[in-house]
Symmetry: C2
Subunit: 125 residues, 2 copies
């Protein structure tokens, strides 16, 4: 993993674009399909692993665990483990993650408006 492939320009371009385009920077952090959803469910407060899984039925264990790890590495969430048996793991938003909250809420808001548009269009059509 120390050496990037030469045939792929995307990963390299992504790195370059990240320093010049703020949207690219954001997409590299929360661009994955599930990242935003996970963060969205964490806005309402810290959650344990199983709660997140129940909140997002469409996600697989692999995706959840993987994206949680990435979000942690990107300093958007923190992980707190109770070393008992069975273990309890709590995920919370970091300050950076908290600041993303309004953005996600704005996205959700837009979604609701936009789907209303569609329903209106359907009624007219």
């Amino acid at each position: 993993m120390t050496k990037a492939k030469a045939s792929s320009t995307l990963s390299q371009n992504k790195g370059i674009a990240e320093t010049t385009c703020p949207i690219t920077y954001v997409m590299n952090k929360i661009g994955g399909h599930w990242k935003c959803i996970i963060l969205y469910y964490l806005i309402s407060g810290p959650k344990r692993y199983s709660e997140l899984k129940r909140s997002i039925p469409a996600i697989t264990e692999k995706m959840l665990a993987e994206h949680l790890k990435q979000l942690k590495e990107d300093n958007l969430i923190t992980k707190k483990v109770e070393q008992i048996m069975p273990p309890i793991t709590i995920y919370s938003l970091t300050p950076s993650g908290e600041e993303l909250g309004p953005v996600l809420m704005a996205m959700a808001d837009w979604a609701i408006k936009d789907s209303e548009h569609f329903q209106n269009l359907r009624m007219q059509g």
Copy 2:
């Protein structure tokens, strides 16, 4: 394209989740890595195909054309073609697309703040 594959549960889940989770709805529309970037550049006003291409050096023709088509199908942008030779194509935001503007600006805003956080951390480290 009329029949979905049976082996993949994701596309089906996406469809189901889309009706219950607003963030999923948004991600299905602008989740692609380039969609947000294209929309972001269209906020400042209508642009022609070649202008977009120049604005986003990292994107390939295929991705640009493909995502422009999807954005049009999702009613986020409109396409206006001057049927002359050589042709001129202008892409603009629809009202729905315009309403996404503030969200994208908020994302960009967060990105700038967040990258400052990192630089501060590095200085302390």
